[in-house]
């Protein structure tokens, strides 16, 4: 089996496995604190117990998720050095700063999260308790910011020169604020907010389908769908900027994602389809001029094709599908939440039907899938480089013969953790039904 024979391949697969698992929790870890904060704030403002209760309940789920985020994050942090020792040695010289600062963000977040959770009833003034959440949200967002600058650096290395194999002129700040950073960070953070909102909406919709007719769930659904809409639109706009970044600085990635082989003007955007041996796309959906617009905001602009690059620097062709998954889901979620919002304003009834609610339920996992597809697209699209133009994945990997074994060990761990999270979350909410908890907190207002 290749996993046991080729340490480079197995290192890639183990990185893929751990990051894919980590990012589920990391994304929610970045997105949820903002949602909790908004809910609690609305609750205090409107003096509405339901929103306070939302904050309380979401926070309870949030800690469980964060715990797994911390555990898997520790794993990936160590694995980077274990699997890519040569890369981390080089990276340590140039991009260690944001990694180091990220730890402070974790510290900060962990401390205030601990305090927030254990002090629900310790403050007379609810606003003070809400204030404790600000550092949690800021810390989470900052950790996404810092780690994403590192990933940006891998895509667009900056802040150093290599002269005769010696590294000179290192500037950590330049490395951190590389050209990939602005679009990447913005896109990662807005997708985290979007995903968190749609996941919460999915839960609320599910409770409503299951026959709970409580206003609590209706309010939750309404709020999260509106937030989801805002962040989904932001995501698409920023995604458009990401496309322009790629066209400018990593044209081979965009070309691979779009199956765009020949440099040409008035380039169409191709969604889905099948690639045959002559680089022809069949059965695809072709949107005229759209690629030129995505790349340069100009329907006639020239877009560089993949054939400008030597064969051995081509990313794998399947990134096209990953890109399509992301874009399709992005557009779909905008349409869905827009329909919901519009229909609620107009009082149209179809949004209250179960079939529509099922679509909302589906939206949660779909958003998460879009996150995964997006990451796989960028990460596979960087191949064969680990540090674009400087170091290949081949050169970076460990020589150890046991990576394959570790892959299975970690797969087992993540399986157990995954099941554990699911079971615990179910229990947490089953044992504290909303109705009961509302009654305990001084009577149900509805």
């Amino acid at each position: 089996m290749l996993l046991f024979e080729d340490p480079v391949f197995s290192s890639r697969m183990l990185t893929l496995l751990t990051l894919t698992f980590h990012v589920i929790f990391a994304t929610l870890g970045v997105g949820l604190p903002l949602m909790i904060m908004i809910a609690q704030w609305v609750g205090i403002k409107k003096n509405d117990l339901h929103y306070i209760m939302m904050a309380r309940r979401w926070a309870r789920g949030f800690v469980v998720l964060v715990a797994v985020g911390v555990v898997t994050g520790t794993a990936i942090g160590l694995q980077l050095a274990l699997l890519w020792p040569n890369f981390m040695e080089l990276a340590g010289h140039v991009i260690a700063l944001p990694l180091f600062m990220e730890v402070f963000a974790f510290f900060f977040e962990a401390i205030f999260l601990g305090i927030y959770l254990y002090t629900w009833d310790r403050f007379e003034n609810q606003r003070k308790h809400l204030l404790l959440l600000v550092p949690v949200a800021v810390g989470a967002t900052m950790s996404a910011f810092f780690i994403t600058t590192v990933n940006g650096f891998m895509n667009a290395p900056a802040g150093f020169n290599i002269v005769d194999g010696q590294m000179t002129g290192v500037s950590p700040i330049e490395a951190m604020f590389n050209v990939a950073t602005p679009t990447k960070v913005a896109h990662v953070i807005s997708t985290a907010f979007m995903t968190a909102a749609f996941v919460l909406a999915a839960i609320a919709a599910y409770r409503l389908i299951r026959g709970s007719n409580h206003v609590y769930h209706k309010k939750a659904l309404h709020m999260t769908m509106k937030l989801g809409l805002i962040f989904a639109v932001a995501t698409a706009i920023i995604g458009d900027f990401s496309g322009k970044y790629l066209a400018e600085h990593q044209p081979e990635k965009l070309a691979a994602a779009e199956w765009h082989f020949e440099t040409e003007e008035e380039a169409p955007l191709i969604l889905w389809g099948i690639l045959d041996d002559d680089q022809e796309v069949r059965y695809g959906i072709e949107i005229p001029y759209a690629l030129s617009i995505l790349a340069h905001n100009d329907p006639t602009a020239e877009v560089i094709g993949l054939n400008e690059y030597p064969e051995e620097e081509h990313p794998p062709m399947f990134v096209h599908y990953l890109f399509d998954i992301m874009i399709t889901i992005g557009m779909w979620m905008i349409a869905l939440s827009l329909a919901y919002w519009f229909a609620m304003r107009r009082g149209w009834n179809f949004v209250k039907k179960n079939w529509f609610r099922w679509l909302i339920v589906l939206g949660g996992p779909l958003s998460m899938l879009a996150i995964q597809a997006g990451w796989w697209m960028t990460e596979f699209g960087r191949q064969p480089w680990i540090l674009r133009g400087v170091m290949t994945v081949q050169e970076a990997a460990t020589q150890s013969n046991y990576v394959g074994h570790m892959f299975f060990l970690f797969a087992g761990l993540y399986l157990i953790l995954g099941i554990g999270v699911a079971v615990v979350l179910r229990k947490v909410f089953k044992n504290h039904p909303v109705e009961k908890e509302l009654a305990e907190q001084g009577g149900d207002q509805s």
């Binding site: 898997t72 050095a81 990220e102 730890v103 305090i115 953790l417 615990v424």
Partner: protein
Amino acid sequence: MSYELIGMVVLWTFLFGYVIVASVDFGAGFFNAYSLITGKQHVLTKVIQRYLSPVWEVTNVFLVFFFVGIIGFFPSTAYYYGSILLIPVSISIILLAIRGSYYAFETYGNKGHRGYAFMYGATGLILPASLSVVLTISEGGFVDMTDNGPFLDYWALFSSPLTWSIVVLSVSAVLYISAVFLTWYANRAGDFKATKLLRRYALIWALPTIVTAGGIVYELRSHNPEHFESLMNLWWMFAISLVFFLFSVWFIWKKKNYGMAFLLLIGQFAFAFYAYGISKYPYLLYPHLTVYDGVTNDAMAISLIVAFVAGLLLLIPSLYLLMRLFLFDDKYVSGKK
């Protein structure tokens, strides 16, 4: 001070912090599991949940800080240690994962499985052992440099008496540190049954700790004479450490000043830990890697130090708040909040 020295002082301090905080945590898990067997569970579980649950993530960050920091200040460690530690560190990660999820699942979730509590307890003993192997490796003699990079000689490692005495030391030190801390905490919480039990554990583990520590110094003499030599030059630091040890055992024996006893214990370990660190300087991995070869460029070193100072300014007040709310708030400690 040179950058490599500043870097080492900072990192060593955080590692020390981790050793103390994590020991309390590891040991508590073991005592908890042990008391499940002996049916004294209710005595300990409450103390553990009140003290450890709110802070376990902070404990974990200490570790993350150390490994991220060492790669930042000394990037070559990523190359040397990254290549050889795949198996021991992967195992540690998995054990850490079990512990972390235990807190999350048990405390936020529901009273869980006894099996899980046992696993959690067992990891408390295996983890110090598996983490301490890294220190053993750094003593040199177990790593071959080949054309393909460094390789770890597992056979030499596991057949060396040094390895095993460091393992024993780490385990008994964990249990000792933890017992002393929990004695004090339980006493503050006014839980006298738990205090009594934990005091006994503290006394039991005091002797093995000091004996194995002595044994390791003795073994280093043959394993790494150079290190032994510089260790001996710092004999007075070890002497102070010993005095602290004797006093803290005395207080516990006399059932008084538990808080002082714990402070003395920190002093004891601090002196021993720093003496060990100083004597090892400048080696990061005998004899292949020193801090001079491994240190990062000036620009990065300066920016890391600036980030560190800025980070501390942010953290110290927040940590203070955390401690005030959970460690030193008598009402919280005794469970009235």
